[in-house]
């Protein structure tokens, strides 16, 4: 662990140009806009937001799977430092070993025609990390054991496995090249509750064992609350709030974060009127509203919110928020809780 973040993004934007229809002009989809973010080395970093918030696009950009339109992103793991914008071919090859992705759907991510051994070994062969078959087998067995798969499993094909086992195979495949930085994109969303906890515990123990840094992308705030130590909240391509998990969940600053938290269905049947409900839906990223992107749904929006976009500012230790009125609203909440 070092103090320098493993990923640091500065004013990062990712735009896609949509082909216009007949006579229709080309449109620009601003999937991610001006994101500044540090992912501390060794952290379990959560990235949350509704669909269309740009969380997956941002995660993929850190893996060099999306082009960065503007801004910078740096990677540093103690051994190498890369500017993700300007990687040589050799560097990119090396970076692919160091940064890996765990997919959402363990049913779609594994080839049905390959044995589990071949699925896990493929990255080693493609990247040329091992020279002999014995060496490959050795490495596959090692990582499979860490992901609680046994030798018997390695000979079989993916169809013979349940969702939880498949996700363990996906994880083994992602970790076989010994990466330092892993993006887990909705990696437990497709799993049943009883299995989900098992995979989360596995990710956590692998982190401790292998010294990994995770970017954990999820729409499920209760999962993020349990597993992550830092959380960043995105809305329509913007970062609206970032904080250590405990701070974010005990004292959310941004009205959007508050709304997301109050929308989680409570397990208490007597708490059926769970606070303020967010009206409307997320606007289209091809035609975002002016000013604060959240103003169309925000119950506290005033004139300035409709014209001027708020900057991300410090509201506490490591706690940043992008809202014109966070101070005012926080004072209001304090006064309320005092009475």
């Amino acid at each position: 662990m070092s103090d320098k973040p493993i990923i640091s993004a500065r004013d990062l934007s990712i735009h896609f140009t949509l082909r216009g229809g007949f006579l229709a002009p080309k449109q620009v989809l601003r999937a991610v806009e001006g994101v500044t973010l540090d992912i501390p080395s060794g952290s379990f970093f959560g990235l949350v937001g509704e669909s269309g918030s740009g969380k997956t696009t941002l995660g993929r950009a850190f893996l060099k799977a999306n082009k960065i339109s503007r801004g910078q992103a740096h990677y540093f793991d103690g051994e190498v430092e890369y500017d993700l914008e300007n990687l040589s071919k050799q560097q990119l090859k090396d970076y692919r070993k160091r940064a890996q992705l765990i997919f959402q759907d363990p049913y779609a991510a594994l080839s049905p025609r390959m044995t589990v051994r071949d699925i896990i070994a493929e990255p080693l062969e493609v990247m040329g990390l091992t020279s002999t078959r014995e060496e490959t087998d050795e490495r596959v067995r090692e990582i499979a054991a860490k992901c609680r798969l046994n030798l018997e499993h390695l000979r079989r094909f993916p169809h013979a496995f349940s969702g939880g086992q498949r996700q363990r195979i996906s994880i083994a495949r992602a970790l076989v090249s010994n990466p330092r930085f892993v993006v887990a994109d909705e990696s437990v969303a497709a799993l049943d509750v009883s299995i989900q906890a098992d995979i989360l515990n596995l990710l956590k123990s692998l982190q401790d064992e292998l010294g990994l840094t995770y970017l954990f992308i999820s729409h499920d705030l209760s999962v993020v609350a349990h597993i992550c130590d830092h959380v960043a909240v995105m809305y329509l391509g913007r970062l609206v709030e970032t904080a250590p998990t405990k701070d974010l969940f005990s004292a959310p600053r941004h009205p959007y974060t508050k709304a997301l938290l109050s929308a989680i269905p409570s397990l208490d049947p007597d708490q059926r009127d769970g606070g303020q409900k967010l009206q409307g839906e997320i606007p289209s990223p091809t035609n975002p509203p002016p000013g604060c992107k959240f103003n169309t749904r925000c119950p506290f929006a005033i004139d300035i919110c409709r014209t001027k976009e708020p900057e991300l500012e410090h509201s506490g230790r490591e706690h940043d928020v992008a809202c014109h009125r966070w101070q005012e609203l926080a004072e209001g909440a304090d006064a309320e809780s005092a009475t």
Binding site: A259, I264, L267
Partner: protein, 331 residues
């Protein structure tokens, strides 16, 4: 008075690999205006159970000889499983029973406008003429909170956002004023903020229309927010049922307890997540005795042999577990 009762429902599928049991001796009842939550993980048989209420299961489905589903409408009992002809089935397929599906994009026809689809089913199931059916449809779209309803009426499913499509689906399902609504994971594909809106909407509509609802979901939080009673299923078996407060606060069956422990809870972030050990068995290798014994932490040798009967505990709270029943007796 009951609206619906399912008795000893058993359902098997004939497949190439043999006969698979999807639902095993399940019984439950539903009163008008009541919301029954049906919870379970994938493969628990909850969707198949709901589909048998409309006879929507594929043709390789074989119902057990003891299986009875009775729908009571205006004092008349309808034996749902005995219905054969399309004209007879109309009553459970859109007439008195409607269904909302998980993925609204897949349930609307892509090349027919939302409005035409709503009008079509209204004309099929009621004696409205086209003009009246259009008016009622637009009114329903407004009722479920779709702004600009007359414009949306003329649009196709792909032009609507996910949340709006699910609202349109609800509007369509409710426009025939069904007595029973089956909602199969209606909020699972939606974002959490939209899910909250749809849950609120459904609660309003239940109190307004007074129909019975079977709400299928894997999310116990959603159940706690919507249901009056809850039935927990595992591998085709009903393992516990009762009032939602009783089951969530005082779960008896080890599976229900396990599900609740596996859920991440927001009020205690440091609590460890406890998974249920093992994986859900394949339906081809159905465990003998209690189907949960392979993953149960309190299983005893007898659990592998004896199928546990439903045991009463407290008011209308049943469970099927030999070990818990023994504990209750000695306590």
């Amino acid at each position: 008075m009951t609206l619906l009762s399912a008795n000893n429902l058993t359902l098997q599928f004939d497949t190439d690999e043999g006969r698979i049991t999807a639902v095993d001796d399940v019984s439950f009842e539903l009163s008008p205006g009541e919301v029954l939550g049906l919870v379970g993980e994938s493969g628990s048989g909850k969707s198949v159970t709901a589909k048998s209420l409309m006879q929507l299961n594929p043709s390789n489905a074989v119902y057990g000889p003891e299986s009875r589903i009775t729908l009571r409408l205006d004092g008349n009992d309808i034996d749902v499983l005995s219905l054969k002809k399309a004209s007879e089935l109309k009553v459970v397929r859109g007439g008195a029973v409607s269904m909302i599906f998980q993925e609204p994009m897949a349930s609307f026809a892509p090349a027919i406008t939302i409005g035409d689809q709503m009008v079509e089913q209204l004309m099929l199931h009621t004696d409205m003429n086209k003009k009246r059916a259009s008016d009622v449809s637009v009114e329903m779209l407004e009722r479920v909170g779709i702004s600009d309803a007359s414009k949306r009426f003329k649009q196709y499913a792909f032009e609507l956002s996910g949340g709006m499509r699910q609202r349109a689906m609800i509007a369509m399902a409710l426009s025939t004023r069904p007595k029973l609504l089956i909602a199969d994971e209606p909020t699972t594909a939606l974002d959490v903020t939209i899910q909250a809106q749809v849950i609120d909407l459904m609660k309003d509509l239940v109190s307004e229309f007074g129909m019975g609802i079977i709400f299928i979901t894997h999310d116990l939080g959603v159940i706690a927010q919507t249901a009056d009673r809850v039935a927990v299923m595992y591998l085709g078996k009903l393992v516990e049922q009762g009032a939602v407060r009783d089951v969530i606060r005082n779960p008896v069956h080890p599976y229900t307890k396990g599900l609740l422990n596996a859920l991440p809870k927001l009020d205690d972030l440091d609590a460890p997540l406890t998974p249920i050990p093992g994986d859900i068995p394949s339906p081809l290798e159905r465990p003998s005795g209690c189907v949960f014994h392979t993953r149960c932490s309190v299983a005893e040798p007898r659990c592998q042999i004896t199928v546990p009967p439903m045991t009463m505990t407290g008011d209308n709270h049943n469970f099927a577990c030999l070990v818990a029943a023994g504990e209750k007796e000695t306590a």
